[in-house]
Symmetry: C2
Subunit: 134 residues, 2 copies
């Protein structure tokens, strides 16, 4: 498991996601203050949202003032949320894993409880028990 490479890939993915959130934020602001510019940016970004860097690059040629605004917003967003992310995702994944493990244990337990005769009165056929639980 190459943790260093995974960390790099994750940071890159996060950077695209922050750019997406910045564009979304600027779009919400424009929808209230400048509907024509909202419409323009909405159309411009619609098919480019997958690659934030390329979108910003192109936007600097088309409307530099909007590009400058978006990169400022994404800097504010990342500075505002980054420090909270480690605890949030560690806790999120640990809780989710605990939930999956608990459900799995419950299924196994119910499986055993629902087939007491197989366990006491006859040889348990685990293959049958498995398929009857689905």
């Amino acid at each position: 498991m190459n943790l260093k490479q995974i960390a790099k890939d994750t940071a890159k993915t996060l950077q695209h996601y922050m750019t997406y959130q910045a564009i979304k934020t600027v779009l919400i602001q424009l929808s209230q203050t400048n509907p024509p510019q909202w419409l323009w940016l909405n159309n411009f970004s619609a098919d480019k949202i997958q690659d934030g860097e390329a979108l910003i690059e192109e936007l600097f040629h088309e409307k530099p003032e909007l590009a400058l605004r978006i990169i400022l917003v994404r800097e504010n967003i990342v500075e505002g949320v980054a420090e909270f992310l480690p605890e949030m995702i560690i806790t999120g994944i640990q809780q989710s894993n605990m939930g999956h493990r608990r459900q799995h244990l419950e299924r196994i337990t119910q499986l055993n409880l629902s087939n007491p005769s197989q366990k006491t009165g006859q040889q348990a056929n685990l293959d049958d028990a498995d398929s009857s639980s689905d």
Copy 2:
């Protein structure tokens, strides 16, 4: 700008991404140790990679030993990389923003340098200067 909501959405997106990285890691391991199981998991996950939690939920019904392995791997991944992410993404976005601003300044400067006659000999027509820079 609702930073709290953005932090929550980002953590959720990251959780899906960690699950994707865990599946990718287990697939790489299986390709070396158990090709038939690699093929099975590869086919199983192909159209479900967008929603990691739903994939794990379903995998617990199909092959619980693989599901347990994937959630263990994603817990190891998140514990291994989470603490480094804040600095990586803050630095990444700041450097990217600096690059975009520098390029923008260079374009503006070249624009002014490439039209000296317009500035000294005649009234500068900024519209013309803008269009000639593209």
